[in-house]
């Protein structure tokens, strides 16, 4: 083993960071110390291996590609702002698990993110659809033409696909993924759809994009995975149907929704890897909804509030609880049903409930194996959440404060007797009704 001082000398000799005096000292040490010579030989062999790697040259067209992309980026400040929005929305919609540390298994996230809306599952579906619409629109507008158009934008969309292929000047890097998408059958179907073309040329959309505040357009480097949008759309006729609907067009005119989407927490929530699957389930569960219901959902302040940073922060804390996730995973269908229930969503939109979720006691509850077992095994407990009487009860601020601060209540929740009482759901429901009367 070499001494630290000798090792330092060897390393610096290897790196050419040694003065004459030190070099002389090292030579002297090497001459007298076979162990040090062996170590020097080790390091030399390693350096040889590294130096034997082939020299690499960048592709000859790299400079031109960069300059073309830079020139595109320089064309107009407005274009740049819209591009930022594209990045952001790509991040929102396409950035699947990992970056935020959430992990990828959260099949119940749909219910949480949509909590608080009148028909939040509908709204979420539409919001995801809107993200796609806005993404496509922004990609298109960033491509070759000005934003100001009416009908000419429609023609442009079709021309773009039929005519010249996108070049490095058309779409900002990484061009390969963007080009692949723009040349795909999915994009073909989209741009040939009359309703969609109308959306792309919607003056409200254009005006809205121009008004998005700069601070809302920060972050998200995850827009690179453009191919994922293609995958998401390719197997998803429901999504395409949403994109084509007049309701979606009306919704993009709602600034409120776009602002909600721009929040980092909302992006993180919507970036869940299982979102698409859950959206599909939610869509299937919706049935036929009227335009009025859609409009009400999409313009609801509750939706925006549900996507607020504080709500997201609280939900994130719960969501990250491994035991709770495990419990939910045991019976996803039941939980999804409850999570999508109107009353439960309504409860999630309540400030007091959100405050409760943020307390240590509440999180401790969720950590408790008994509670986890309860969630896992007791369908009556699930039903309880969907009961309007129970919702009314937990929306009572005093009840919430008591629940959050009371050690005895916490103990009670964990008690076997309490769990057994939940099994007698009918009786509990009766008691709640009696209280109302």
């Amino acid at each position: 083993m070499t001494e630290r001082a000798d090792e330092d000398l060897l390393q610096r000799a290897l790196d050419g960071a040694m003065g004459d005096a030190e070099a002389e000292r090292l030579r002297s040490r090497l001459a007298s110390d076979p162990t040090l010579r062996a170590r020097a030989e080790q390091l030399r062999r390693l350096a040889d291996l590294l130096e034997d790697q082939e020299a690499v040259e960048p592709p000859p067209e790299l400079v031109d590609r960069v300059m073309a992309a830079a020139a595109t980026g320089d064309r107009a400040t407005a274009t740049r702002r819209r591009r930022k929005l594209t990045h952001q929305l790509f991040g929102l919609f396409l950035h699947h698990s990992g970056q935020d540390g959430y992990g990828s298994e959260s099949p119940w996230m749909t219910g949480w993110t949509g909590g608080g809306a009148i028909v939040a599952k509908k709204a979420l579906w539409a919001v995801a659809g809107l993200a796609v619409i806005v993404i496509l629109a922004v990609v298109y507008y960033n491509g070759t033409r000005s934003v100001s158009g009416g009908a000419e934008g429609t023609i442009g969309a079709a021309d773009r696909y039929r005519g010249a292929q996108p070049t490095s000047k058309d779409v900002v890097a990484p061009q390969a993924a963007a080009q692949q998408f723009l040349q795909s059958d999915v994009f073909d179907r989209i741009v040939k759809d009359k309703n969609l073309r109308n959306i792309f040329t919607d003056r409200n959309l254009c005006a809205m994009l121009a008004q998005v505040p700069e601070e809302a357009l920060q972050e998200s480097d995850a827009w690179l995975n453009l191919g994922k949008i293609q995958t998401a759309l390719a197997d998803n006729p429901e999504m395409l149907a949403v994109l084509r609907s007049a309701r979606a067009r009306a919704a993009v005119a709602e600034m409120e929704n776009l602002q909600a989407l721009s929040r980092a927490a909302a992006r993180a929530a919507l970036a869940d890897s299982a979102l698409m699957e859950n959206l599909r389930k939610a869509q299937a569960a919706l049935g036929d909804a009227s335009d009025e219901e859609w409009a009400a959902a999409l313009t609801s302040k509750q939706l925006t509030e549900a996507l607020s940073p504080s709500a997201m922060e609280a939900l994130r804390a719960v969501r990250n609880n491994l035991k709770f996730k495990a419990a939910v995973a045991e019976d996803q269908q039941a939980f999804l049903k409850v999570a999508l229930g109107r009353s439960f969503r309504s409860a999630l939109g309540d400030d007091a409930f959100l405050s409760l979720l943020k307390t240590k006691n509440a999180l401790a509850q969720l950590d408790d194996p008994n509670v986890a077992a309860l969630l896992r095994s007791n369908r009556n407990f699930m039903k309880l959440f969907d009961d309007p009487n129970f919702t009314a009860a937990i929306q009572n601020r005093q009840f919430m404060v008591a629940l959050a601060e009371s050690e005895s209540l916490r103990v009670a929740f964990k008690a076997r007797g309490f769990q057994e009482s939940l099994n007698r759901f009918d009786a509990l429901q009766e008691a709640l009704r009696a209280r109302e009367q």
């Binding site: 790196d15 350096a47 790697q53 082939e54 690499v56 960069v66 992309a69 690179l224």
Partner: protein
């Protein structure tokens, strides 16, 4: 192989760009493309991904040029952007991407299978290093930067650079040459 990691006229070109003259960016791209590409390739192990990362880093640098703090070297700032791009690429790539054949040398059996195998092993070992250690090895051995230059680019003390280099070499030695334990 020797790279330029700073130049007095970097700022001249930067200011030219900030005045709206895109042409001023070309000398900067030409000056640093090879160095950035070398770093990206060794960090990522894939030529296509390295090209994308470098291109995106330059474009980002151009778009956000106004935020560049002139008290730091332009390359240092550019390098940080590249590292972020490389991280993005690594996050998004498939776990079983094959090693770049050019790096592995496996497409040219005439040069000697042993040498190709060694090169592939070295690149593979590089990719298995922790990012911080990989960075210093790449900057030292492939970008041929001095301790001082690496410290400035990474914004860490020189002592940290040396420490990471030592650790990285130990790890590489264990992976490639069968060294045993900590020295």
């Amino acid at each position: 192989m020797s790279f330029q990691v700073s130049a007095d006229d970097d700022l001249v070109f930067v200011r030219q760009c900030l005045r709206g003259d895109t042409v001023g960016f070309r000398p900067l791209v030409e000056r640093y493309q090879k160095l950035l590409f070398t770093v990206a390739l060794r960090m990522l192990g894939d030529r296509t991904q390295a090209t994308d990362a470098v291109q995106e880093a330059f474009v980002r640098a151009y778009v956000h040029l106004a935020s560049y703090d002139h008290s730091h070297k332009f390359f240092s700032w550019l390098y940080r952007i590249l590292v972020n791009e490389c991280l993005n690429v690594r996050r998004s790539r498939r776990p079983l991407d094959p090693l770049d054949p050019e790096l592995a040398g496996s497409d040219d059996p005439q040069r000697g299978a042993r040498r190709a195998e060694l090169r592939a092993s070295v690149q593979s070992a590089l990719l298995r290093l922790p990012r911080a250690n990989r960075e210093v090895v790449v900057l030292r051995h492939f970008a041929e930067m001095s301790y001082q230059e690496i410290a400035e680019v990474l914004r860490v003390p020189e002592k940290t650079v040396k420490s990471r280099l030592y650790s990285a070499r130990q790890q590489l030695g264990q992976m490639l040459l069968g060294w045993k334990g900590e020295r």
